[in-house]
Symmetry: C2
Subunit: 915 residues, 2 copies
């Protein structure tokens, strides 16, 4: 590796280029590239990430040689600009900016106007002929330097500024006079001395090195570390430092500054899209004090006269040209910053722009249609998770912004189910149902949900809980239903009984209107008016024709391309005929997990279920089961119909029985009356069923062993439904799945019993039905003994939720107590319930697949945990050789796309990404 | 394999011998052996286990050729005895007995007098000259045949017998006359016809084959299957059938029958020990209707005139001679059955006799001293578990027998802690402490125990619970304390609040006296007066001199021999200086697990612990921890002292914090007052700490991460204690263990923190202390990533309790709901918390050892779960290459012996077992 630490860019020539992001960071590499392209960029240089890493290796000391290289580079800038750094008459001023490979909040951002001091500010006043400008620049510099280098809270500077404005009776900064600003500078310097114990440094060299080291240090601050952890960015990358000659957008007339996207980042529309401010420095645009104007006339909501296009047509034309050249070079939408100093345009930054799912999709297809990128690149460029944005109802970002400004943001939790919903607060499932009965949209708000709340969740537009994680009951069920959901909003205190919730001094009562954004996790007071997505309207509501739905058409095109590439089959987790149809509309190629217990919660059924559970003898239990049989059979028949021609994997009863029991006094009373037994007897039985660790308790196949009649009933319902459906011409492929197998003995006992029932049903009906019996792999021991299990089982389906719980020893209901800290401190790179832990849990999956196929080479293997819809996990499952993944209906498109990208990644990528 | 199915023995010649137990069963092989030895055995033959297995393979059909072989063998018997089978005048009568390789309750036992029918009985009456004998024999035959072949409950026959006795006004069977018995025979036959629908079979051939097939079938009956499962006997062995000429001990004068052991099975004393009855059939001895006499004069409690030695001196001398010959042949104590027909002695059975732990030990040493067996055989012959019998207080078996007969047996549970205890019932820890304060022995009776009950457990003589399994809190703690304990006595209904328990219609109130036998699991009403073992008195109470304690001396000799053989180190799980000293007395070579949380429950401490947990800020928490520091330090110093020169492995806090919280209203009130906060605030905090699945929740190193100050305090207490102890000349080797590691990151963070504290403490003290930091391997993921963990950790200690919970997905608190059925149905061969599951859990242990040593070849690896004291598990750990096992103090001798046996087994055994 070259020992070079500093890379210059000036006068159309640069030492670096856009491919050197590792060394120069994103900003530096792109400044170098733009310079080489002949795009006007203020001259400057980049101190490489290598220098940053050496700084840390040396224990916060500057590497030798850096001093000389920076000095040399500064001399170049002086030569190019014809000014001298530290000169008191016409000083060369520079900006210092961080620039890591990936843009990162929390990193030190920018120090402007570096080089000013008490003397140089007078020189600047003279040379610019604008004393106000000079002291405003000095004031800004002291504040930025004080904040990021000396770690004096910027609020303390702002307080002084506010006091001055108040004293002068003015509303905005620009109304302060040169004299005001001069006084403010004196106050700022006094603050610096008081807070840091030293006077504000007057030596520009000292200022420069102080800033450079502050950038280095900011690489290691907490916020940046957390961000890297969240986005899987390696700590070893380090940051570069960009030092650039200042250009000023605030030097009076003919000056401006702006930010723009080369295409609309919200919609993807192929138009330059951005904002600018006349006579301002860059930070003023985002500060929101003055309202910026639109870049183009087209973008203007007025007559266009407020646009840059109207105000500075030449610069606008130049920007359009630069836009074209940047997109040709980068082959993607760019996010740019620019400054116009006295009519001269300078580009300060270009980078690939962030965008919504909709924009990402449209831009990718537009670039394809413009022949800029290839088909596989289109498929590879759209983050699968972004598709959920296309599918989910949404709030208008402007509405959210307004609500925030109005102080209507109530709290924040984990974004568990994407999409937006507004409705009145219901603190119980019953209340939610009441609202639904009166056609009132409701948001179910609970500390946490249980299967008892299912009806309430169905009746609600969205769910909000103060406890639980991304795979808590509320989160899983809500995603399954495609409902917006926020969980673990710990700052919100909920009192369900009293009917209120509190956060930050505000109280919301039952019946009050709130809005939840399940994509961001934010909760708002009042109605933010969500609207359904276009795809939803075409595929689900069928209220829109495909031809009239351009977003749907893009979606369909993307899915078609992805389907051609992928080799993994994508199934769905669905428990009802409705869900099955929905998932099929979204492209599911069968059901990977039909949870029979969800069918047990309907009003008509729960009574029979409870009778079955609380029965004291086999006869009573069989009687109750006999009531359930026709209901389950009907469900299964509906599902077979919806999945005509596709496999349907049905899991026999899994959860501990006490989950079905009443938990309220009145429910006990009703049930006791129905069953003709005493309330005390029922309660005693319920108490007997309660467990210390239900997740590790009497559930799954353990129930099948101790209450064989339950599985018998279910097997009968499945096979009878299959016979009926087949007789109606439906092609059925039932797969009966036995859950929670830990020993092959359990499997064999239950398999034999199920098979016996199946054989009897088919013999009676006199027909043949192709069916398979297999097992869910969710207990570590099952994976460890997979060869034994596969010798008997016809298929494996990995239940990676439970497998993760047991492999890590984490209860997903309780992980909220330490997970946030574990993620913060990078003990876990990611929530293992969200994305599979390839190292540990994945090792058991691999052992399971390998062991299983050693005993049965053509073993069908899938996954039905929540991971089936997580793109990173889908890639892992593809690599592990699974036959299919299964996920909730709304995740099916995500999985299809992720499965295609897994193939592309395996082939070494497409040569292009979204970074 | 030979196709021979029948093996004869008669006239001093036999087809089989004692080594053919697989084929002939234990009984048959030994009858053949005795025959060849010239010992008088009634002639007979054995149908091999192969015939039995063929019978099942053929779907309950007799294998071809068996008929002919049996016929041929019967002809031999006819020839030898000079009688004909089915003859009406002087019929040959035979017995039919099952005989598997291992003796097994539940198997069909015996049919006597087979060959009798309505005509032959008359012949027998004539030939024997004893009509009463003939009809009594016929009556017995019908009853036995009816019971085991025709499956007519024997109670129905007994009812008829009782009715007859009542009618005749006699108390015992023998007072019934020939005429009475003749009538009874008629009634029996009527019963058979009524119950089976067919008359009692008159054809002796039919009787014979019915009996043979009944023996075959009994191999597969439920009780036999359960027994095999419990004792790990393969289903594929099958049973043999022994057909033997009848000899009669009930033919009047000169006739007798008896059972004996060649040595005393309770004490091991080298004397023929047994019982006999004049003029009786074998079943009468065990039936308990007539009181049998002692075999020898020495054994007699009277003047010896009631002994066989006095009554039939010739036969007695002959028995002594046979005893000598049998022991020389079998090299072990034998359990024999004999019958004397008109002065002629016949041996009916010999087998290795069951014995108590005491007897096993004494007999082994005596045989060694007699030069019958070698040293390694002594070590190999004593079942390690039996040692606990030598260590535990015991009830006199006669006292138990008497109590049972008096109907004082109250219930039965799992024998969780061996030993006997009597005391008054206390339904709460407080009540137990109250009793203890007044020096009243108490038995703590709870539905289940929690750490809150610890003081009550300490205060009690024994523990009885109605819930929980062999590794429930009560069981583990009780074994650790060496206290008798019965858990999971489900038939007993306990109402702690009301202060009573019920079982089988009887009610016991608080303060009533009960006795519990933790070795058998039996609960008795009243005081059965337990007494401490000799070893206990020598080693623990120090109230007996070793020289005066012969049992202790044997124990010490055995341990010395075992220690020479074993390679595994044996440590102990001990939490207090007392336990440490105790364990050391029992031979512990260090502490493998010191659970620091148990120290938190003392009266003086729990307050500070609760303050620590419920603190709302770091300051309050640190204040509470500062109170705990000196207490923990004192504990550790005491432990180091007790373990001078030996390693002490201390586990940092492990259980979820809410385990320490108050759970009663009054406790909350006291604490709230102490802490100066509201009860409601405390309760809310407690509620926040509660978890759905605490076993998978916020515990272990997860607490260490989120509350770093707890581990810091503990590390400080350990190292400060080590410094103090070392300054006093004690050699300390602390090992600090971080529990529940799932990722190496957790370990590194906590290791660094602990090391920092240790370095600071040592620097301040200016001394060097050898210490190690390592981790507990109890999360599957830790085993899967063992190489990563071992790169950082200095030792591994497998926590196989938790590892078993997570690998199987079994909560040990809840497993009681299905474990009994899982064991019954042989889904699990054994409770995996009792004996390690080598296939699954063991695979993770092996991966952990292999992975760990791949990164750190000299990695010290031990096990500290309950399995460390289980002999089968110790053998597994030896084979897996562990350095040490650790177990509760009272299991240390067991582990030492088991570790020695593991070495012997590895070397291919000693050529002798206890089977």
């Amino acid at each position: 590796m070259s020992k070079k630490l500093v890379y210059g860019f000036a006068s159309g020539k640069a030492d670096g280029n856009t491919d050197m992001k590792d060394l120069l960071g994103g900003k530096g590499a792109n400044l170098a590239e733009m310079t080489s392209m002949g795009i006007p960029v203020p001259p400057g240089f980049t101190i490489s990430t290598r220098a940053c890493n050496l700084y840390f290796e040396l224990g916060h000391k500057l590497p030798s040689g850096l001093d000389a290289e920076v000095g040399k580079a500064m001399r170049v800038l002086e030569r190019v600009r014809g000014k001298k750094f530290g000169d008191n008459k016409d000083p060369l001023l520079v900006s210092v900016r961080s620039g890591a490979k990936f843009s990162m909040p929390g990193m030190m951002d920018t120090i402007l106007n570096l080089g000013l001091n008490d003397k140089a500010v007078e020189g600047l006043a003279t040379s610019s002929g604008d004393r106000r400008f000079a002291f405003d620049s000095y004031r800004r510099f002291i504040q930025m330097y004080g904040d990021v280098v000396l770690e004096i809270s910027k609020h303390r500077f702002e307080e002084l500024l506010e006091a001055m404005k108040k004293k002068r009776g003015v509303a905005i900064d620009t109304d302060l006079t040169a004299a005001d600003l001069e006084k403010l500078v004196a106050q700022y310097k006094a603050l610096v001395k008081k807070a840091s114990g030293k006077p504000f440094p007057q030596d520009p060299e000292k200022q420069l090195w102080g800033s450079i080291m502050a950038v280095f240090r900011s690489w290691d601050n907490e916020r940046a570390r957390i961000y890297r952890q969240q986005y899987g960015i390696a700590d070893s990358l380090g940051t570069a430092v960009n030092v650039q000659c200042m250009v000023f957008g605030n030097l009076g007339e003919g000056c401006a500054t702006g930010v723009a996207f080369t295409r609309n980042p919200a919609t993807g529309e192929n138009l330059l899209y951005g904002e600018y401010l006349m006579n301002a420095q860059g930070e003023d645009v985002v500060a929101g004090i003055r309202t910026p104007g639109p870049i183009s006339k087209a973008q203007s909501v007025g007559d266009g006269s407020d646009s840059l296009e109207a105000a500075m047509p030449e610069c606008y034309k130049q920007l359009l040209d630069i836009r074209r050249r940047l997109e040709r070079c980068y082959r993607d939408m760019q996010d740019i910053e620019f400054t116009i100093e006295k009519g001269v345009l300078y580009m300060l930054q270009t980078r690939t722009g962030k965008r919504t799912g909709l924009a990402a999709t449209r831009i990718a297809f537009d670039l394809y249609d413009e022949r800029r990128i290839r088909r596989n690149e289109v498929v590879d460029r759209i983050e699968p998770d972004m598709l959920t944005q296309l599918l989910a109802p949404i709030f208008d970002p402007k509405d959210k912004e307004r609500a925030k400004k109005a102080g209507r943001r109530f709290g924040k939790g984990l974004p568990a189910g994407p999409g937006a919903a507004s409705g009145v607060v219901a603190f119980s499932a019953e209340k939610a149902a009441e609202f639904a009965a009166t056609k009132t949209s409701a948001i179910l708000v609970r500390r946490e949900t249980s299967p008892e709340d299912l009806a309430g969740m169905v009746a609600s537009q969205g769910i909000l809980t103060s406890r639980g994680g991304m795979t808590s009951h509320a989160a899983v069920v809500a995603r399954g239903m495609g409902k917006p959901c926020i969980v673990g909003a710990e700052e919100i205190v909920i009192n369900e009984k009293a009917g209120w919730m509190k956060s930050g001094g505000r109280t919301i009562k039952q019946g009050d209107m709130i809005s939840i954004d399940g994509t961001s996790g934010e909760v708002f007071v009042g109605d933010l008016h969500p609207h359904p997505s276009e795809i939803q309207q075409v595929l689900v509501e069928k209220s829109m024709k495909p031809a009239k739905a351009p977003v749907y058409q893009m979606f369909a095109r993307l899915m078609k391309w992805a389907d051609r590439i992928r080799t993994l089959t994508v199934r769905t987790n669905a428990d009802t005929p409705n869900d099955s149809s929905l998932a099929r509309a979204f492209g599911a190629e069968g059901i990977g997990l039909c949870r029979t217990e969800h069918m047990f919660f309907g009003d008509a059924r729960i009574g029979a279920v409870r009778e079955m559970i609380l029965a004291n003898d086999l006869k009573t239990r069989k009687k109750a089961l006999a009531k359930l049989l026709p209901m389950q059979r009907r469900d299964f028949e509906g599902i077979f119909k919806a999945m005509d021609g596709l496999p349907v994997n049905i899991r026999l009863l899994d959860p501990p029985l006490h989950e079905f029991l009443p938990n309220r006094e009145d429910q006990f009373k009703v049930l006791a009356k129905e069953m003709g037994v005493k309330v005390a007897t029922l309660k005693q039985k319920a108490e007997q069923l309660s467990e210390v660790n239900p997740m590790l308790g009497h559930r799954g196949c353990r129930l099948g062993i101790t209450y064989p009649e339950i599985y018998e009933m279910q097997a009968r319902a499945i096979m009878e439904a299959a016979v009926r459906a087949q007789k109606k011409g439906i092609r059925v492929f039932p797969e009966i799945m036995i859950p929670l197998i830990g020993t092959v003995q359990e499997y064999v006992i239950l398999r034999d019993r199920v098979r016996e029932v199946a054989v009897a049903v088919l013999a009676k009906a006199g027909v043949k039905v192709k069916y398979q019996i297999g097992t869910m792999m969710e207990i570590p021991r099952a994976c460890l003994t997979a060869a034994d299990v596969a010798a008997e089982a016809e298929f494996f389906s990995f239940g990676t939720n439970d497998l993760t719980q047991m492999t890590y020893g984490y209860s997903r209901d309780d992980i909220g107590k330490f997970l946030p800290e574990y993620l913060d401190r990078r003990i876990l790179p990611v929530d293992p319930f969200e994305s599979i832990d390839a190292t540990g849990v994945g090792q058991l999956v691999e052992m399971g697949v390998k062991g299983g196929r050693s005993a049965r080479p053509n073993l069908k293997v899938g996954v039905c945990g929540e991971h089936g819809g997580d793109p990173a996990s889908v890639a892992f499952f593809h690599a592990t050789g699974l036959n299919y993944v299964s996920c909730s209906p709304y995740r099916v498109p995500v999985a299809r796309l992720a499965a295609a990208q897994a193939v592309l990644a395996e082939k070494g990528g497409t040569g292009s990404g979204t970074a």
